[in-house]
Amino acid sequence: MQNWINALSWLNVRFLLMGLWVTIYISVISVILSFILGSILGIIRYSKIKFVSKIVGFIIDIIRNVPLLLIIFFTYFGLPNFGLRPETIPAAIIAMTVFESTMIAEIVRSGIQSVDPGQMEGARSTGMSFVQALWHVVLPQAYKNMIPTIISQFVSLIKDTSLATIIVVPELMQHAQVIYGQNANYILPMFAALAVLYFIVCFTLSVIGNQIGKRLS
């Protein structure tokens, strides 16, 4: 019992919350960037520009089928070979964004494909361009259907940021490791604290997602 009280001292909890802040910071930026990039890639995949769509599809397949951990390693230890030396936090954001964009791209593509093709034909038959028809008619319907899937993808993203501990990003997981690294008795209290903090963040996002989904349908 004393171990738990010592482990969860204000000093330690504050240190954990600083880590949580970095986790949220990385997550929010990666969510925004991967939503934009993933949507663009998904639309390119859906479009009829065959050559570009094939190349993008090939790249997406490679990234989706490689462990995220490897991508994180690559951005931190690999990119310097190409003259880029990102700090740990930008490296984590780059890796998360690249990986999540490919996931979102496939969600967006299948979301667009699940909209009745008649919607696109109806819009195109009035003289709208492909992009106008997508923007005004098809995408609003597609995103409405996609919201639950996209939210759960973002929940995984938040949990996946813990992998960035491997390149010593000062995020939640890494800060917990620092604390229990000093005293092995703190391991269990730290695991419990991690579980609670990740749960609060992810569960809140899921609830918000469900609310949005309900309001739209």
Partner: protein, 245 residues
């Protein structure tokens, strides 16, 4: 002045030869009805006219745009060529009024006030002004199709293509829609190409009937003489089956 000209047009889906040697000329102001058994290529033919389906051989000219030329801008062609679909294809994310106003706003850049007045006027014409702010999911199939016709008219097209406009409707809804189509075709001097299975309606509105079978035009005649005395055996067979019940 011809509105549509097909010269030896061929259409393939992979190895399937969907349209054979289509030669057809439709003049401005004509109302042409396209009939034939299902799978005969009627819908495919109509969908080539606004480029929803591509053609593989021959030449197709619509409203002076050459659809066999890959450089032709289909978006410009389609401003003047409306289409009414079997399944309506109203935008599910927009209400009735917005369905009608969207294309004039973003394609023809019509001023908002004029656009709204026109949309309300068109809704009155199809008898649905009370439904302006309902979503498509809240109205019946017959009402949806009337909105779809209003949406097409909002672009003030020179040619309207109707692809089985009543095939997906309950029997008691069909008449309302046919009345609207009749009004549109007779009032306006617009060119119309109509795929339909409604023979009574075809007789009433068409100047000219085209009968298709297995991807070919089998018969092309004035409406009156076609229904009185079809020339080919295949058309006689078809008509006797349809009219007998």
């Amino acid at each position: 002045m011809s509105m549509i000209e097909f010269h030896d047009v061929q259409k393939f889906y992979g190895h399937f030869h969907a349209l054979h040697d289509i030669n057809l000329k439709i003049d401005q102001g004509e109302t042409v009805v396209l009939i034939g058994p299902s799978g005969s290529g009627k819908s495919t033919l109509v969908r080539t006219v606004n480029g929803l389906e591509s053609i593989q051989k021959g030449q197709l000219i619509v409203n002076n745009h050459d659809l066999s030329d890959p450089k032709t801008d289909l978006n410009i062609l389609r401003r003047d060529v409306g289409m009414v679909f079997q399944h309506f294809n109203l935008y599910k994310n927009k209400d009735v009024l917005e369905n009608i106003m969207l294309a004039p706003r973003i394609v023809s850049h019509m001023p908002e006030k004029e656009n709204k007045e026109q949309a309300m006027h068109l809704l009155e014409m199809v008898g649905l002004e009370k439904w302006a702010h309902n979503m498509p999911s809240q109205i019946s199939g017959g009402q949806k199709q009337r909105v779809a016709i209003a949406r097409t008219l909002a672009m003030r097209p020179k040619l309207i293509l109707y692809d089985e406009p009543t095939s997906a409707l309950d029997p008691e809804m069909i008449d309302d829609v046919l009345q609207v189509i009749k009004k549109v075709t007779t009032d306006s001097g617009m060119t119309s190409l109509i795929v339909t299975h409604e023979m009574g309606f075809a007789k009433e509105v068409a100047n000219r009937v085209i009968f298709m079978d297995q991807g070919r035009i089998v018969e092309d005649d004035a409406s009156e003489s076609f229904f009185k005395r079809p020339k080919t055996e295949r058309a006689q067979q078809f008509l006797s089956k349809i009219i007998s019940h």
